[in-house]
Symmetry: C2
Subunit: 254 residues, 2 copies
């Protein structure tokens, strides 16, 4: 089994992309299924094989513990961990080749807290895994925000310790000119030009970020279905062992 975790900020289009990519895989006669890890989502365009809402209700958490909306979402995801053994058992019964994992938009779970990493380990077990990090086109079209999203992607990749594919989501909302500009930023120099005056540290940081991009983020759209082939090919490259990643013990492995 191959696990693909879809991670991104709230509103970046994770849920619809999960549905679109699942349909794509099935159209190609591949066996694919979906896990929903978001305890606060109200309605889903797909039927998940495993759904954390069966275990934890974010709204109940909000009322029961008298927490504010943000704290209750964090708390709800932490509570999911307490249901670990039940969820693991359910996941182990899955027999699909591909398991697509939809995640909550509280990006701090994946960028700064241990919850995301623990959830991912729990779910993927010893199986190969990769992460699709969604960069919201609407945010990325401003140069500074694009840099922020690359920093966030680095942070999530570092925290989750998984091979990561950057996707530029919802590109149907971009004009061709905007898309060309974002692609050119991935080459570095033009990005720095778009930022105005920046301090030396930021310059070094951006240089490093751009150098670390193996390729531009892949433009995808769940509306026009663009980018699915390229995304799939990149996943193949990772699962075939083209990119090393580290186990939790820190040893290089396939």
């Amino acid at each position: 089994m191959y696990f693909v975790f879809f991670v991104g900020t709230a509103g970046s289009g994770k849920t619809t992309l999960v549905k679109t990519f699942n349909d794509y895989l099935r159209d190609q006669q591949m066996d694919s299924t979906i896990i929903n890890l978001d305890p606060a989502v109200e309605s889903l365009p797909y039927t998940p094989a495993v759904d954390v809402r069966d275990y934890v209700d974010a709204y109940e958490v909000m009322e029961k513990f008298g927490l504010g909306p943000n704290s209750s979402l964090i708390a709800a995801s932490d509570l999911v961990l307490t249901k670990a053994s039940e969820i693991k058992e359910e996941v182990e019964q899955l027999e699909s080749n591909y398991v697509l994992v939809d995640t909550p938009g509280q990006i701090e779970l994946f960028a700064y807290r241990e919850t995301g990493r623990m959830l991912a380990s729990l779910i993927a077990g010893e199986n190969k895994r990769a992460m699709a990090f969604l960069i919201d086109s609407f945010i990325a079209k401003e140069a500074r925000s694009f840099v922020s999203m690359l920093l966030l992607s680095s942070s999530v990749k570092f925290r989750m310790d998984m091979p990561t594919i950057n996707l530029l989501s919802k590109v149907d909302l971009l004009t061709d000119k905007e898309l060309d500009l974002i692609n050119s930023w991935s080459n570095g120099e033009e990005l720095v030009d778009s930022l105005g005056t920046i301090d030396e540290y930021s310059y070094e940081l951006i240089k490093l970020l751009v150098e670390s991009l193996s390729s531009s983020p892949i433009p995808v759209s769940s509306t026009s279905n663009v980018g699915m082939d390229m995304f799939y090919a990149e996943l193949q490259r990772i699962f075939a062992g083209g990119e090393d990643f580290l186990t939790e013990e820190g040893n290089p492995t396939l």
Copy 2:
């Protein structure tokens, strides 16, 4: 007037620190007042001079627009911007020397979206400003999480374009040994040792992050009052012009 923005992840202790530092300044016979920018906070330990809850109610937004908890918090902060002229008018009537600004825990507003930067410009106008970035001790005591928080701080600093002081918050919850370890990480090598095997890009990124730290995060606690003198001294250094920062137009200025 000097504006100090307190930014940090949910639960990092912004609100209590704002109260503690406000009390500290007043005890020193300095004129200080507080602005609350969090539309979703339920109760505050201080009385804000300006309160965005007078303009936007996050819970009303949640019900009115049928949004989930996270989206409604983002939407509520965006709505605050539509009340710009009224809020600006209120802020301009403040006559305090120091204005402490408490912010919502949706860190993406400050790290990835334009809302935080626009709010800050709106509020601080032409006045000098600095940012206190709170690194939650509870999160920071794990080496990878500490790196994540430094990345987040860089991202927020870059996005907000303000001189930034890193604070290690809630240090009363750390043992002396834990605090020593975190301090030693700010020197670099020991940090890398604590991370296990990491890839070359992560190594370069961490080296750059550590080099960019002008000093270790300042340990503070709202319970024991530790760190207020050092934090104040650092603010003085910034407001006295010791650290350049860039205006929105990208030109270096005081």
